[in-house]
Amino acid sequence: MTRYVLRRLVQIVITFFLFQTLTFFLLYAQPGDIANQYLLNPNLPPDAAERLRQELGLDKPPHLQYIQYMKNFLTGNLGVSFTNYPRPVIDIIKERLPRTLVLFFTATIISFYVGFALGKVLAWRRGGLFEYGVTVVGVTLYTVFTPWFALMMIWLFAYKLNLFPTGKFVTPTLWQNAPVDANTVFGRMIYTGILGSVVAFVVYLLVRRLPPPTRNMSGILAVLAGLLGMVIPWVQSPLARYAVDILWHMVLPILTLTLISFAGTMLLTRNSLLETMREDFILAARAKGLPEKVVRDKHAARTALLPVVTSLVFSLAFAIDGGVITETMFSWPGMGLTLLNAVVQEDIPLAMGAFSFTGILALLAHLAADLLYAYLDPRIRYS
């Protein structure tokens, strides 16, 4: 197992190096550079663009720039963003990556639960009108033209019903006199989120040891305890209203992402469950006289969970890429929006930084999915 992980890590480093090289030269090959953005500015002297190029090192031949970039990257220096000069790239990523991850993580977890529950029902009631209806609606949402769908959601919930803001991260008027900035509050929200999840997990483990009538409610009790664990630290805090403001801005993007992605889990669960149901141990469970619900939830669904969980891990890897569309539509200042702007404005260091993190996320998720697979299914052994 250790040897397998080590070998995979070596492969990951090589793949990542190739990925870096590919994206660097793709970005570099774009016509023009950042200095072009200033050519039309009448207040700048004509040689300003040339001087800017020299200062940023853009006048050097591409292979030298590439070697310089890789050297800096290996020492942990991602450079300075051109468009947010002189802010370091790593600083911008530190600020924006959590925003994207929180958005996608929440949406993925919700859509996973919804999708898994629906997928189980679909497989069990195969061939009914219910299955066809849910599948057609699910697939339509899954393949929906995302920018258009986000727009419809904004129009309906923010514009017509006036329930949620139309986009952005915070309400500026509320934050004018705020004692701290949004990033601090958001950081604390992430910590309480983690705290709540830990509390929920501990409560779940404890309740499961109790006798049956209480044990059956372990899921509900765990969720309640987790929510309490998230809310209690904020009750007395003067920052609570700011946290609520950020949460209020998160609802609509998360709702949209959940609606778009739940069908993926649902359809995968259905197929996986249909394949599992042909196995002999399901026949054995039925022959033992177990109730259908127990066969479905305890015997079939657990086995069918395998590919679903790995695809869940994998889908998180593409959070930044998916964020390009969603974050643009909701003006959510996360990594996706940053990547799009950096690419369009030819801010090469920032775009490279964003691409690097996309690559790292994808590679680590790939590895995590493989390891999780071996952990969940004892039949799989890596050597």
Partner: protein, 316 residues
């Protein structure tokens, strides 16, 4: 069965026997496909859009005056304010530049079909060929293409397309080529290769080799025909992703296409009517719905084909 009839079977030319066998399997698979209403719904939507694509040039020749109804250069001078709401003259109204929305919608259908089919054909050609080659030869070829697939799967698809759009000034065919190559070398190859691996160990491959069949003969005659059903299935999913990608890039205004559903929404956005969906619904709803419906139709057909191709999903 009598002896006489089996003799007549043998005397029929080989191509006729093959054709009849092919026709028989098509009919059997069609029966399996029709059993599932999901695929039939998808197919109906695709046929509806195909009809729209075919009708457009006919309407332009007969009923619609090109100076008014041309999807790109048309302008209706008889209406004073554009965008105009739907009327008998313009069934889906006009866009901010005074062009007929229905005509644009129907014209774009042709483009989407061409894009989708070209991208899908490129994807499955690459995917099937490379999948078959890496499964058959193994070793260095296999490692090389599988690591390449890992790299391609890792690429953030939409972001890379945005970078490429700045690089190449993508038009329809170039976009189809890029999407086809990117998805062909990626996930499709891996799936087709694993299918090809299961074919490699079948007894008839051994028999073909013993009978003196060369590498190329075995790949072309035995591997590829057995991989085609799976390739066909992934064609459907590629069409969905191609149409979707084109719409996203057009929506951001990044590609060089004269008219498409994505461009229609982009035009609405640049003219500033985007958040006025309630008042100017005909500028946003038809195009967005068309993209969504056609994408989901191909996806539904793909799902239904999956149940035909994958025996583990069939009903008992």
């Amino acid at each position: 069965m009598s002896d006489a009839s089996s003799v007549t079977v043998i005397h029929r030319p080989l191509w006729r026997v093959r054709l009849e066998l092919f026709w028989k399997s098509v009919r059997a698979n069609w029966a399996l496909f029709v059993e599932n209403p999901i695929g039939v719904i998808g197919l109906a939507i695709i046929l509806f859009f195909a009809l729209m694509a075919v009708l457009h040039p006919i309407l332009m020749k007969t009923v619609w005056d090109p100076t008014v109804y041309d999807p790109i250069t048309g302008y209706d001078f008889e209406i004073l304010r554009h965008p105009a709401p739907p009327s008998a003259r313009h069934l889906l109204g006009t866009d901010p530049l005074g062009r007929d929305v229905l005509s644009q919608l129907m014209y774009s259908t042709q483009t989407e079909f061409i894009l989708g089919v070209v991208a899908a054909l490129i994807t499955v050609t690459i995917g099937t060929l490379i999948g078959a080659l890496s499964a058959y030869y193994g070793g260095v070829i296999d490692t090389l293409f599988m690591r390449l697939a890992d790299l391609v799967i890792m690429l953030p698809f939409i972001s890379i397309l945005i970078v490429l759009s700045a690089l190449f000034k993508l038009n329809m065919l170039k976009l189809a080529l890029v999407i086809g190559i990117l998805s062909g070398f990626g996930g499709v190859t891996v799936i087709i290769k694993s299918q090809a691996l299961s074919i490699k160990v079948k007894p008839y491959i051994e028999a073909a080799r013993v009978a003196g069949g060369g590498d190329w003969h075995i790949i072309v005659v035995h591997f590829i025909p057995n991989l085609l059903p799976l390739s066909f299935l992934y064609m459907m999913f590629t069409v969905t992703s191609a149409i979707f990608s084109e719409a996203v890039l057009s929506f951001f205004g990044l590609i060089n296409i004269r008219m498409s559903w994505g461009i229609m929404i982009h035009t609405t956005q640049t003219a500033g009517y985007l958040l006025n969906v309630g008042q100017y619904w005909w500028l946003v709803i038809p195009a967005g719905l068309a993209i969504t419906l056609l994408c989901s139709a191909f996806y539904l057909v793909g799902r239904a084909l999956d149940e035909v191709v994958n025996p583990r999903l069939r009903r008992r």
